[in-house]
Subunit: 104 residues, 2 copies
DNA sequence: TTTCATGTTCGTCGAACATCGAACATGGTG
DNA sequence: CACCATGTTCGATGTTCGACGAACATGAAA
């Protein structure tokens, strides 16, 4: 598996970030990552097929919200720290208002 | 023209608000209203047809972001104050990070 | 090497969305 | 009343989105 591309943080648009977060599955994903830790895709227990999960990861990655790093056969994801530089306080505010992560 | 319906603020979902703001035209609309004043739809100088503008107003209204009030043949819109109760700090943070309103 | 685990990519589907112009409704104005 | 201004609603069009399963790629384990 090739390492995935990440956009330069300066090119990320606010509306793109908002659109990425305007989905319950993705918002739940991000909420789970809010502790700053990294996780593999498989650790998320969400009611979607793995291809769908992969799609959501891609959307979040392309919106500058998370980073993926391939390690062996697994893929670690985590929040992207530069997002805070680009849009200070945005993610924190949204996550503070979001419901706790979905499980199941 | 009948007065338009507004959703109870408690029923508004965060993802719905984010989705409504995840559009450049709508975000620009909201940014223009950020001073708290009311405006008629016609005052917005945006590069869309008036039917499209009307549609965007409806989306923002149904997301609890703005209120419409019909007066004679005109329609006054303004930010909806209760949104701040429902999602404190959200709109302020987003607008602080948004580019200034489009013109033209 | 064969097998398994983990993700990604691809093709497809229906639903939702953004946009437009036309038609309509309503209310002032002359 | 006829006319104009202001918006809304409707129908059509094309695009994007979220979802799925199948197929593929990769690396680890047996």
């Amino acid at each position: 598996m090739r390492q995935p591309d990440h956009p330069a943080i300066d090119t990320v648009q606010l509306t793109e970030v908002l659109a990425a977060l305007a989905d319950p599955v993705r918002l739940s994903l991000v909420a789970t990552l809010a502790d700053g830790g990294a996780r593999t895709c498989g650790e998320f227990d969400l009611p979607v097929a793995k291809s769908t999960l992969s799609h959501h990861m891609k959307v979040l990655r392309e919106a500058g919200i998370l980073t993926s790093r391939v390690e062996g056969t697994r893929c670690f994801v985590a929040l992207r720290p530069e997002l805070e530089d680009r849009f200070p306080g945005l993610l924190g505010r949204i996550l503070a208002l979001a419901a706790p992560p979905l499980t199941g």
